[in-house]
């Protein structure tokens, strides 16, 4: 995929790969083939080395012999200087892969009378190129000619002619030049070398040095425009691009346990994603390192290799401390599954840290990498640098599919979500440990701030360090708020008591009610019997009255009969 990319760009502009780590990525394949490139920078920024590595790599990796024209150092000096980087110039010279030529210029020895040209130099370069069939050439430092030869006007036009001539020859040229005051080069060489200009910089901030590389221009090609930190170490030059890595790594769906079963449950039951980046942040003493250790133990138990970068504790101290919470790391270290790398963050510059880390990772090929803590790097106001460094590290780890576990110390005054290094955007799973102070004691709470790509719990858990490792408990959530520790326990007891009381109350009420109901029913019975008694009494009276009335009527008609009354009709009405 990478090759295709390079090739598709080659159609646009042929390029000469440098094989310098990282440079080909930001230049899209290397330096312009058959054209001159200007490398400029202040003293000691690595121009000569850059140029030399370009030649040596060309000769060894791409079978392109190269000529090194040195205006400053002699052949012997050069050979000795780059031997420390593992370049064996003597052998390369013997095999006709590299041609070194020292051109000696000293003004005091030269008088000028009338016009001259640099045909002598042309002849020498031509000879050198022809003798080994060179495809690449370095002129280091071309501007020395200005101090060695009189009449800058002639020199300028001659240098212009030289570069044209080299271009016509089709050799890929690297010209180095010292950086001028406010200009890229002292003599304005950038006017002649217009195809590609690379600026090297070496600056010291907060007592640590940072080397940077920037592509000022690259005619006819897209290129990375940022300042890229670079390193010079025993393996030569390496540029560490941030953006070139892109975001095209594949993501694993595999899940791995955090070593804490309850935490796995919180992360939809399965733990972290393999190859993801986990951050645990919290104030001092909240158990960040313990969480890391728990994760390490889990990984080692699975038989995976772990690289543990510790920046504040020594490995033995760490092992001792972890033993107190029942995590034993020593056996894993002995079996070679766990390797510690303890360095003070101030020991190197950030770039060196990054590169040594990357080298270690490449060597050990771990499945899990721990950085404890990441904000140890923050010194003064270098947060941006730290962020870029971590960004590059995270990118690198993701490309390799390595699970990264970072811890970060937040200062007590800050809001919890504010990590010191502002790397939240890089983090896939972010766990927050926080102090909870209730009732004169300090407890730890854990919650998942975010976890990309999984359904995770939104609950706060009480985080306890026991002598059998880390334990997560449910916290008390009630009307009184969130409670942990003894407060949780006492609240729970209080709750129990209250509940009992409630229960008794209800029972009592129910009993009372029952009694009332019974009383009421008894009354009803009594009233009913009273009523019934009255009713029968009343019916009796009514019966008596009725019979009395009938009898009275009978008596009356009997009487009328007896009196022979004629008003018969009148009396029938009463009947």
């Amino acid at each position: 995929m990478k090759k295709e990319e390079v090739q598709s760009r080659r159609k646009v502009l042929p390029k000469s790969p440098t094989d310098i780590q990282g440079l080909d990525e930001i230049t899209g394949g290397g330096l312009p083939k058959g054209r001159p490139t200007l490398v400029c920078g202040g003293p000691g920024c690595g121009k000569t080395l850059f140029a030399m590595e370009f030649l040596v790599r060309g000769a060894t990796e791409f079978n392109e012999p190269g000529v090194f024209i040195s205006f400053e150092e002699t052949e012997e000096e050069l050979t000795a200087n780059v031997a420390s980087l593992g370049f064996d110039l003597d052998s390369l010279r013997k095999r006709k892969k590299i041609w070194l030529e020292h051109i000696h210029v000293e003004r005091s020895e030269v008088e000028q009378s009338g016009e001259y040209d640099l045909e002598g130099l042309f002849i020498r370069i031509h000879e050198a190129i022809e003798s080994i069939g060179a495809k690449r050439i370095v002129l280091d430092t071309l501007e020395s000619l200005f101090s060695g030869l009189p009449n800058p006007l002639i020199l300028r036009s001659e240098l212009r002619r030289l570069l044209h001539w080299l271009k016509k020859k089709g050799v890929t040229t690297v010209v180095t030049a010292e950086r001028g005051d406010g200009t890229l080069t002292r003599q304005g060489l950038e006017e002649y070398v217009s195809d590609c200009v690379i600026l090297l910089d070496h600056r010291v901030t907060d007592e640590s040095s940072i080397r940077r590389l920037r592509i000022v221009k690259y005619r006819g090609s897209t290129h990375g425009t940022n300042e890229y930190p670079f390193l010079i170490d025993e393996d030569g030059f390496s540029v560490l691009p941030v953006t070139s890595l892109g975001l095209n790594y594949s993501s694993s769906r595999e899940r791995i346990s955090s070593g804490i079963p309850r935490l796995d449950t919180m992360l939809s039951g399965k733990g972290y994603f393999r190859g993801s980046t986990v951050l645990v942040s919290g104030t001092a003493g909240t158990g960040k390192t313990s969480m890391a250790a728990q994760f390490v133990e889990a990984a080692c138990k699975r038989g995976e290799r772990v690289l543990f970068f510790t920046f504040e504790e020594s490995p033995s101290q760490l092992i001792r401390n972890m033993r107190s919470i029942g995590i034993s790391l020593e056996p894993w270290e002995k079996r070679g599954l766990l390797q510690f790398q303890a360095t003070r963050p101030t020991h190197y510059g950030l770039e060196t840290h990054l590169t040594t880390s990357i080298k270690m990772i490449n060597k050990l090929k771990p499945s899990v990498v721990i950085l404890d803590p990441i904000n140890a790097f923050v010194l003064g106001d270098n947060q941006t640098e730290v962020k870029t460094m971590l960004l590059r590290l995270v990118d690198f780890l993701k490309m390799k599919g390595i699970t990264a576990f970072f811890t970060s110390l937040t200062s007590a005054g800050d809001t919890m979500e504010n990590t010191d290094v502002y790397i939240s955007s890089l983090i896939d799973t972010w766990l927050l440990l926080r102090d909870i102070e209730i009732g004169g004691e300090r407890d730890r709470g854990l919650y998942v701030l975010k976890s990309r790509g999984m359904e995770h719990s939104n609950q706060i858990r009480e985080f306890r360090l026991t002598n059998r490792g880390i334990d997560l408990l449910d916290v008390y959530v009630g009307a009184e708020g969130v409670l942990t520790g003894s407060a949780r326990l006492s609240q729970e007891t209080k709750d129990d008591a209250e509940q009992l009381l409630h229960k008794q109350n209800i029972e009592r009420k129910q009993f009372e009610l029952e009694r009332k109901r019974e009383a009421m029913e008894a009354q009803i019975v009594m009233l009913r019997s009273e009523f019934e008694a009255e009713e029968s009494e009343a019916l009796k009276v009514i019966e008596i009255e009725k019979t009395r009335n009938e009898r009275f009527a009978q008596d009356k008609s009997k009487m009328a009969k007896s009196r022979k009354a004629d008003a018969n009709t009148k009396t029938t009405g009463t009947k």
Binding site: I103, V110, E111, S113, G114, E115, G120, I123
Partner: protein
Amino acid sequence: MKIKHEKSKARRSKTSDGSGHRRLVERRKRAVKSGSDKWILRLYVAGQTNKAVTALNNLKLICEEQLKDRYHIEVIDLLKNPKLARDNQILAVPTLVRKLPLPVRNIIGDLSDKERVLVGLDLIERSALLGKQ
């Protein structure tokens, strides 16, 4: 033996002040007059260019005037002998090299500025140029 002596003197004179240089020039003039020195001059050129031809003509004129019968000019064409450019550290052409008498002197250019040639060959004092510079 004598040459060696002069060489060491000349070295000293180079690093010391103008008076040493003046003494050297005086001695050179005397030596020229007495005819005890043989001058060996080498002119490096790259092909028969205009500059090369001009330089050789100018050199011949100066030598005839200053060093009659006491000089020898070698013309080296670097196109024919490219290795000599490396061996003798030649960059610019034409370059005139005074091989003898020692110390070795280099003058670059087509030698059209006669006074500068004379200074370069230690035939006149540098102070003579001051007005011109």
